[in-house]
């Protein structure tokens, strides 16, 4: 391991840490050292193990092997409270707030200021929260409940929480994903001030320019393994991407050229109040259209509404010219729509059921006779698709929860492709799956489009969006902010639209 500053004692470090979840090896022999007064970037693709690493530092996970060191001393963190008491503040990607509690209480939960007899001093807490917001330069009422705050505001509450105890180590998992340009600038100001006063910072962002702007050193992970730790100075973005991906981008995104057919999915002025507004677009047969945007921009909600999981308040949706009714998923399925949801564990699969049963959930009618299930038909239908998608399994009767994330995703795809859909909506199709399987999923999507399927792909993974899509639709705060042709789509143009910096009419 090449570490340019070996003499100083790191404030917080991991040495040779491995962590597995079932058959999935999330971290393999990873080391990381965070020094006082230094901002350290953690780079890696989705599923590279960044989140597991953070949760290990935060005391949520305990390493299987290896150790966590604080000031050079090995420690065992029994839980998040231990990490917090050691001065480690973590801002997670998805804000973790208590909707029923006030904003001030969210900041001080478990650490409320107290007056005599151990009573919580509500007024002091309120004033301290107000002072934090003043320091951050935001206008938030500490008294209001957290329920109903925008994602950006929730993120600010998390940041205020980290500021509220003088953290020696500040860990931020994509804190800027939902922030606008000025909010990012403000956040960076706060982080720099913290760092200069001696805090160690671990920073994760998919926006590489932020890594270069904020950090001094960068550690790269790939498939759970440590790849490199090096100074940011002298690196280029291309160097970093190569370390993260480990292969050329072309191979990962095997986009075939296709002939575009008729309009398959037509969405006109779709609105769900307060969630998304006036969303109109079309997807043609043979086309892959990406729906990009920040977390919370309303992309998944649009997909859910199109499929009928949520009702829409206004607008219309047509599949091959047939109008769909709001809030009717079975009609949408009958019209030829398929939705591969964002959270495959909770929404895509029944985790305790077998592979075969999961695939056949969409074909209960096709594989039954006179209301009774035909086991043989069920099995052959499942085998057919499992083989076509190259699902790696021991037996079809195995519980789907024992498969790796990538293979689980293939089962979800098999479940929907077996309905012979006209339009496939995939929400984060490769989140949390390894690079190899990811390429397979991309190849599959590309082949399906070439066969005439219309694909609407929601993705937060920018290289995936740029590599796979014929057209990119970008959402910002519930509206379509831009429509960008494949030739014009770059990280900059998509991110600019997603953060609301440009607004070319859709």
């Amino acid at each position: 391991m090449t570490d340019p500053v070996p003499e100083r004692t790191p404030v917080l470090a991991l040495e040779g840490v491995s962590k597995s979840f079932g058959a999935v090896r999330a971290l393999r022999d990873v080391s990381l050292r965070l020094y006082a007064g230094e901002a350290h970037a953690l780079a890696g693709e989705n599923g590279a193990g960044k989140s597991t690493l953070i949760k290990t530092l935060a005391g949520v996970h305990r390493p299987d092997t290896g150790s966590v060191l604080i000031d050079g001393e090995p420690v065992v963190l029994h839980g998040p409270a231990d990490a917090r008491d050691a001065g480690v503040a973590v801002i997670y990607q998805e804000p973790t707030l208590f909707p029923d509690l006030s904003v001030a209480e969210n900041i001080y939960v478990g650490r409320q200021p107290r007056r005599s007899l151990g009573r919580v001093d509500h007024r002091a807490m309120r004033e301290a929260a107000a002072a934090l917001f003043a320091r951050l330069g935001v206008d938030l009422d500490p008294e209001r409940p957290a329920r109903g705050l925008s994602i950006a505001d929730q993120q600010l509450v998390e940041i205020a929480k980290a500021l509220s105890f003088d953290a020696r180590v500040l860990i931020m998992d994509e804190p800027t994903a939902a922030l606008t340009g000025s909010e990012v600038a403000r956040l960076f100001g706060v982080v720099r001030a913290l760092r200069e006063s001696g805090a160690a910072v671990l920073f994760i962002s998919h926006r590489l320019e932020e890594v270069f702007a904020l950090c001094q050193r960068v550690t790269t992970l790939r498939d759970g393994a440590w790849i490199a730790t090096e100074p940011v100075e002298g690196l280029t973005e291309d160097d970093l991407v190569r370390r993260m991906v480990g292969r050329d981008l072309d191979e990962l995104y095997p986009k075939q050229k296709t002939e575009l057919g008729d309009v398959a999915l037509s969405v006109r002025r779709l609105t769900r109040e307060g969630v998304f507004t006036d969303v109109s677009f079309e997807v043609r047969h043979g086309e892959i259209v990406a729906l990009a945007g920040l977390v919370g921009a309303g992309r998944s909600e649009v997909a859910r509404a199109i499929f009928g999981v949520d009702r829409w308040d206004a607008g219309e949706v047509e599949v091959d010219g047939r109008r769909l009714k709001p809030g009717a998923p079975s009609l949408a399925m009958a019209a030829g729509l398929a939705l591969v949801p964002e959270d495959r564990r909770a929404q895509g699969l029944v985790m305790d059921m077998s592979i075969a049963r999961n695939i056949n959930l969409t074909g209960l009618r096709a594989t039954s006779r006179a209301g009774l299930m035909d086991r043989g038909a069920e099995r052959s239908r499942a085998v057919d698709w499992a083989v076509r998608l190259q699902v790696k399994y021991a037996r079809l009767a195995d519980v789907v929860g024992t498969l790796s994330g990538g293979n689980q995703q293939k089962v979800v795809l098999a479940k929907w492709l077996s309905t012979d859909p006209r339009v496939l909506v995939v929400d984060e199709p490769t989140r949390g799956i390894d690079v190899g399987t990811k390429a397979e999923v991309h190849r599959l999507l590309s082949r399906l489009a070439a066969d005439g399927l219309a694909v609407l792909m929601i993705s937060s993974d920018l290289p995936e969006v740029l590599g796979m899509a014929d057209r990119v639709l970008v959402m910002h705060e519930g509206r379509l902010a831009a429509e960008i042709a494949r030739a014009d789509a770059t990280e900059e143009s998509v991110m600019a639209a997603a953060t609301g910096r440009t607004r070319s009419a859709a």
Binding site: A58, G59, V60, G79, P80, A81, D82, A83, R84, V90, Y92, T96, L97, F98, P99, D100, L101, S102, A104, E105, V109, G110, Q112, R114, G118, R119, V120, H122, D141, E143, R144, P145, R147, G148, L149, S150, I151, Q154, R272, E273, G274, V275, T277, V295, G296, G298, S300, E301, D310, E342, E477, G478, R479, G500
Partner: protein, 350 residues
């Protein structure tokens, strides 16, 4: 994914006493029960002027005390998004144990302490099973309900304790009071105020709300989840034990069937009182009002000449009404929040 897309599961707000509109909704929620209660009592009084006599008020309060006590404990558990179904069995067993002790000539105060200790002991068992076992509280406490009831039957068999077996001072404590206010009610109000103050003013109490509001966030925020759950269950068990002792004092008559089916009445009272079953909101004052409302109906019906066979049906209607109100309020709140978000967004876009 945006928070605004999720319909609020319950009338939101906390006991932080702020002026936000969500808090006002919450206050209205408790106020609504109070209004229903007062209207009912006033209407009954107009119909039957003997209803709110000194003895009438005293009976009303005496009848409510035991349910209020158990309801306060249950509310603390329900706030954490759990439930304790074993309270009826715990009440029965601790009442009988206290009775046995007093029949043998024991000190009444010590008898009450024994009942509380037995309840707390079962609370420890429930709390450990729920927090360590990672099994839904509904199932765990349904199990302990039957186990404790079974122990009860084995130990006591067909024996019975009657008022004649008990020291007269103890029985007097169950009946007398300051004018129309029975000692039992004074004790219950004291417990209620302490519990409410703990929930509002102490870290432990605030953690219970946090836990019920979002268990995952509580874990990440370093809330001592097991310890807090254990505390809630111990409090619930101890209050059921105390209620058992007071049951003995009030009725003087205990057998192995005492408290049978009581858990459902308690849960109804808590839910009618506005403590959301989904956790994180509500207050013990609400639960107490819910208990008072349910027990008052028992007194109101005979007073206006309605057969008491209607009581259960009316309790059920009240329960459904309470849940319907919660749901309507929750949808209304969610719609308001969405509208608000839409307004701020369009403001951004203008």
């Amino acid at each position: 994914m945006t928070m605004t897309a999720k319909p609020a599961a319950a009338p939101a707000g906390s006991a932080t006493g702020s002026g936000g509109f969500l808090d006002r909704v919450l206050k209205v929620r408790e106020l609504a029960i109070l209004v229903v209660l007062v209207l009912m009592l006033v209407a009954t009084q107009l119909d039957n002027s003997a209803f709110l006599s000194e003895q009438g008020v005293k009976d009303l309060l005496l009848n409510a005390t035991i349910l209020v006590l158990v309801g306060v404990g249950e509310a603390m558990v329900v706030i954490t998004r759990n439930v304790d179904l074993s309270v009826g069995s715990v009440l029965g067993v601790s009442a009988f144990a206290a009775g046995e002790f007093l029949r043998g000539g024991g000190n009444p105060v010590l008898g009450i302490v024994i009942a509380v200790a037995i309840g707390a002991g079962f609370g420890v068992v429930n709390g450990l099973l729920v927090s360590l076992g990672q099994v839904p509280a509904l199932v765990v406490t349904l199990g302990t309900l039957y186990i404790i009831r079974g122990l009860d039957s084995v130990w006591f068999g067909s024996r019975q304790i009657t008022a004649a077996d008990l020291p007269s001072g103890f029985v007097g404590f169950g009946h007398d009071g300051l004018g129309a206010v029975p000692w039992l009610a004074v004790l219950t109000v004291a417990v209620l105020v302490v519990a409410a103050y703990y929930l509002r003013g102490y870290r432990g109490g605030r953690d219970l709300y946090a836990l019920g509001s979002s268990p995952e966030a509580a874990r990440l925020a370093g809330v001592a989840v097991r310890k807090r759950l254990l505390t809630a269950y111990i409090a619930c068990g101890a209050l059921a034990g105390l209620a058992g002792a007071l049951y003995l004092a009030r009725f003087g008559n205990v057998d192995s069937g005492t408290g049978n089916g009581y858990e459902l009445t308690v849960v109804s009272a808590v839910v009618v009182g506005g403590v959301a079953f989904t956790g994180g909101s509500g207050s013990v004052y609400g639960a107490a009002l819910g208990a008072l409302l349910l027990t008052s109906i028992n007194s109101v019906l005979p007073a206006i000449g309605v057969s008491s066979v209607w009581v259960q049906a009316i309790d059920g209607v009240l329960l459904l009404l309470a849940i319907a109100v919660d749901r309507v309020v929750a949808l209304r709140v969610a719609a308001l929040l969405r509208e608000r978000a839409a307004q701020t967004r369009s403001a951004h876009h203008d």
